[in-house]
Amino acid sequence: MAYTIQVNGQGRTVDVDGEMPLLWVLRDELDLKGTKFGCGAALCGACTVHVDGEPVRACVTPISAVTGKVTTIEAVGATSVGKKVQAAWIAHDVPQCGYCQAGQIMSASALLAATPKPTDADIDEAMSGNLCRCGTYTRIRAAIKQAAGLPVADSRET
């Protein structure tokens, strides 16, 4: 059946099975490929998008359940937080393979929108659902702090 959702500020209509996860609607129906498939089971965070500003795992969110405004990596830079996060990611040269980073940036942007000055514990809490197989966590932490205007040094150092 046909579903109309708001994606990156535009109404988009797709004619798909209501069970189809938002991830595959974005990737295969709307050709928005920045959002990635990693596990299909809410275990890795590669598919993270915002729905009404909240981080959501698109791989387990059926299209029929999407009522809010969807923002993806392609448009998160239009928000001031998203833009800062992307700039910090580039400045810290965070990515290795880069595959997880769209999801990381979406989680980080949602964190900073809700908690502008996160502690290390806040970062752990918000980011531990996003796997990075390449192991860029120290840089992700530093980039989040930079985007938040916090001192970048790792306060957990012994």
């Binding site: 798909v16 099975d17 069970e19 189809m20 595959w24 990737r27 295969d28 129906e29 050709d31 490929k33 920045g34 959002t35 990635k36 498939f37 990693g38 596990c39 299909g40 089971a41 275990l43 890795c44 590669a46 993806t72 990596i73 392609e74 830079g77 992307q86 990611w89 580039i90 040269d93 965070v94 990515p95 290795q96 393979c97 880069g98 595959y99 997880c100 980073q101 769209a102 940036i105 970062i123 752990d124 809490e125 980011m127 531990s128 996003n130 796997l131 990075c132 197989r133 390449c134 192991g135 860029t136 966590y137 120290t138 840089r139 992700i140 932490r141 790792d154 957990r156 150092e157 012994t158």
Partner: protein, 739 residues
């Protein structure tokens, strides 16, 4: 090498190419291009190699020859060329090469070999280009070349103050004979402007904004989406499948059996399901029923391998791996004998981007868009299974969402090509995470029975290992062998290494730092046990066993075409261990439950030492507080920001070995996703301090050598914290409980 007329194909890009060759037959050549219609035209025949083009506006395009898997090679190799070309890095564009061994030589991401293989060559390519630009400028000024010099992107004549931008000289370069690569001058490293400077990932911005294309994002006209269902038992065959029922599912375009062969690293039997959306194709698996002929492997299991190893440990090794001196005599005379058994499991690669490939097969030609580490192996599989000629296969190397050795195998590539051929239309094959974890080429499990002799002065006098691994007859399962020079061989006089093998129906293959990633755990933990038994400090004991700074001779003469022999420099190894201990404040007092552990390892030409501080609660739950790493990869860290990233990543990757395992039951993999095959997460990621010790040696690679010492450093730290020895991975925290 002459100048050749441009082929029509290049006209479409509205660029005329001037290429000129510096060597033939797989050697290196430069190319300079000129945009615009009226430009002079020239092109190389297909067998020529090309790395550099310079446009009239001064933009320099440099070809990145190797696959990018996250190791940063797409940025680093062009830096070598740009440095000696004296290009302005701000005006360099990087272009990913096609897979074409005739043009570029071998293109692969493996063995941390890109730096040692290209350090010299690609700097010479850049230098040859600079020489030609200098000659071109001298010609137009009618002055001797020796009076000309360059600043980034510009040739200048100091005496007259005249300058010419590279863009203005490129056309003239086409008429200049290229210099011999072997004789071009190379810069004094003290004058480097690019090498040794942190150059962020050239794709960083595209990645951060979601524009970067990975394999999984490829789209070609007329493409359908596919899943491929193989037998859960490795190598099992399709007997029958309810294809009609699958085809009747809404949105499914087609479903068919693909017949494969017997080789586990080739095309295997399976059922392909095709639909207009990947999710629809994958959902149709819910109704798919396949009768499989599972074959003999269905009788194998991890528990069975462990039993077999225990049995083998009761007897003598089946074969001698190394015998030096008189180990038996040393054991007889020892003041103390230390004995221990170690074991580690199979591991999956679990690249963040599941395996995928897009293929088009038309008119006997095959075109694939492949996130591969090793395109030529994939070409071979396609040639074999589709019956085409190598030159009829075009491979686009797409950025890989992680490699770690998994994408050295191209099973998914030949699958996509076979499905596309049978479907008669282009296909994008994407594996699920379950497919990915359950059809990997695993890091082989292994079992070691070790024994060490310590004399009255606490010196290590002999070491023996009975290594039980996998293989049949003379051969070992892939990545399951051990080098006969495994340290402390060659450092101490009495060594007894033997090996026994268990037949294996499970595919294995290289995982980041293959062999080393497991052997470092075994040998660096065992040496720690011996240090304690000898009553010595673990760092001091290791240094004592290393002995005087000297190079332990390379094991054997190189077979024709093999890698050059590699000695093992005890001085370099001691250097990194001492510095890591110093940086970590080795020897400082820590509360019970917290400990420091160290380990070192030499692999892929890189010398590394790691110190870890870890804290274990009384129930054994532990946390890594901090990691210090010191590496010696030669005189130059080519791209420091990426070098540190690789080392940090190796630590995070290595720490995951504490908890991950692949279990085989009834010939199939039990684990299926990140819940039962866990990776390190943000809340477990420790602060990591990375240092490089620069020594007067040629630069070597960084993708792998920082990984092996991580797990032993952790286990040794946990011993220091709790007094409990970890001899089996993954770590069972119950074993660490203390009171």
């Amino acid at each position: 090498m002459g100048i050749h007329p441009l082929k029509d194909a290049f006209e479409t890009s509205r660029r005329a190419f001037l290429r000129t060759g510096a060597a033939t037959g797989g050697g290196l050549l430069l190319g300079f291009s000129l945009a615009g219609k009226g430009a002079a035209r020239a092109a190389a025949p297909a067998a020529l190699n090309t790395y550099v083009r310079i446009a009239p506006d001064g933009w320099v395009t440099i070809v990145a020859k190797n696959p990018e898997i996250g190791q940063g090679i797409k940025t680093m190799l062009p830096m070598l060329i740009a440095e000696e070309l004296d290009a302005d890095w701000e005006k360099v564009r990087i272009e990913q090469a096609l897979a074409d061994a005739a043009l570029y030589g071998r293109q692969f991401a493996g063995g941390s070999m890109a730096t040692p293989l290209h350090w010299d060559e690609l700097r010479r390519v850049g230098s040859a280009g600079r020489q030609m630009l200098l000659t071109a400028a001298a010609q137009s000024w009618s002055c001797p070349v020796g009076e000309c010099d360059t600043t980034p992107g510009v040739v200048r004549h100091a005496a007259s103050g005249r300058t010419l931008a590279y863009g203005a000289l490129a056309q003239r370069c086409a008429t200049i004979a290229p210099p011999e690569l072997a004789t071009v001058p190379l810069k004094d490293p003290g004058t480097y402007r690019i090498i040794g400077k942190s150059m962020p990932n050239v794709d960083g911005e595209a990645i951060a904004t979601g524009r970067q294309q990975f394999g999984i994002d490829v789209k070609v006209p007329g493409m359908t989406h596919a899943v491929f269902v193989k037998c859960p038992v490795f190598g099992g065959k399709v007997v029958s499948a309810n294809l009609d029922e699958v085809k009747a599912q809404k949105g499914v375009r087609d479903a068919f059996v693909v017949k494969g062969g017997d080789a586990l690293d080739g095309l295997l039997d399976g059922v392909a399901i095709l639909a207009d959306s990947w999710w629809v194709a994958n959902k149709a698996r819910d109704v798919l029923k396949v009768e499989w002929a599972e074959g003999e492997t269905a009788r194998q299991s991890s528990a069975g391998y462990a039993e077999a190893a225990a049995k083998l440990f009761e007897g003598e090794p089946q074969a001698v791996l190394r015998k030096d001196g008189d180990a038996a005599g040393a054991f007889a005379k020892a003041a103390k004998v230390v004995e221990a058994e170690y074991a580690y499991p199979f591991l999956a690669h679990a690249n963040m981007e599941p395996q995928n490939c897009t293929a088009r097969v038309e008119g006997g030609k095959v075109e694939v868009w492949a996130p591969t580490q090793n395109p030529e192996e994939g070409r071979g599989l396609i040639v074999k299974h589709l019956g085409v000629k190598p030159e009829d296969v075009t491979i686009h190397m797409v950025r890989c969402g992680g490699g770690f050795g998994r994408r050295l195998n191209n099973d998914w590539m030949v699958e996509s090509a076979a499905i596309a051929k049978q479907a008669g239309r282009p296909v994008k094959l994407v594996w699920t995470r379950q497919d990915d974890i359950q059809h990997d080429f695993y890091r082989p499990a292994g079992f070691h029975k070790l024994k060490a002799a310590v004399d009255g002065e606490g010196r290590l006098t002999a070491l023996s290992d009975h290594f039980v691994t996998f293989g049949q007859g003379e051969g070992f399962s892939r990545s399951a062998a051990m080098s006969p020079v495994e340290w402390p061989a060659r450092a101490i006089p009495n060594i007894d290494y033997g090996v026994s093998k268990i037949p294996l129906g499970v595919p294995t293959g290289p995982l980041r730092a293959p062999g080393s990633n497991a052997l470092a755990f075994v040998f660096q933990c065992f040496i720690d046990e011996v240090a304690h038994a000898a009553g010595k400090d673990p760092v001091a004991f290791r240094l004592e066993v290393m002995g005087a700074p000297r190079v332990l001779a390379s094991p054997a003469p190189t077979p024709p075409g093999g890698r050059p022999p590699v000695g093992y420099d005890m001085g370099r190894q001691a250097g990194v261990l001492k510095l890591a201990a110093e940086k970590a404040g080795w020897g400082r007092k820590l509360p019970r439950g917290t400990g420091l552990g160290c380990a070192f390892y030499f692999s892929h030409l890189g010398y590394f030492a790691t110190v870890i501080q870890a804290t274990a609660a009384r129930d054994g739950a532990f946390k890594v507080d901090k990691v210090w790493v010191v590496g010696d990869v030669g005189s130059t860290i080519i791209n420091p920001i990426n070098a540190a990233n690789q080392v940090e990543g190796s630590v995070i990757d290595g720490l995951a070995h504490a908890k991950g395992q692949i279990t085989i039951e009834n010939g199939r993999t039990v684990e299926s996703n990140f819940d039962d095959f866990p990776l390190t997460r943000m809340n477990e990621a420790p602060p990591i301090e990375v240092h490089f010790l620069k020594t007067d040696n040629p630069p070597t690679g960084l993708g792998e050598p920082a990984l092996p010492p991580v797990m032993p450093a952790l286990c040794n730290a946990l011993f220091a914290a709790t007094g409990k020895r970890i001899r089996k991975l993954p770590i069972d925290t119950a074993d660490l409980a203390w009171s």
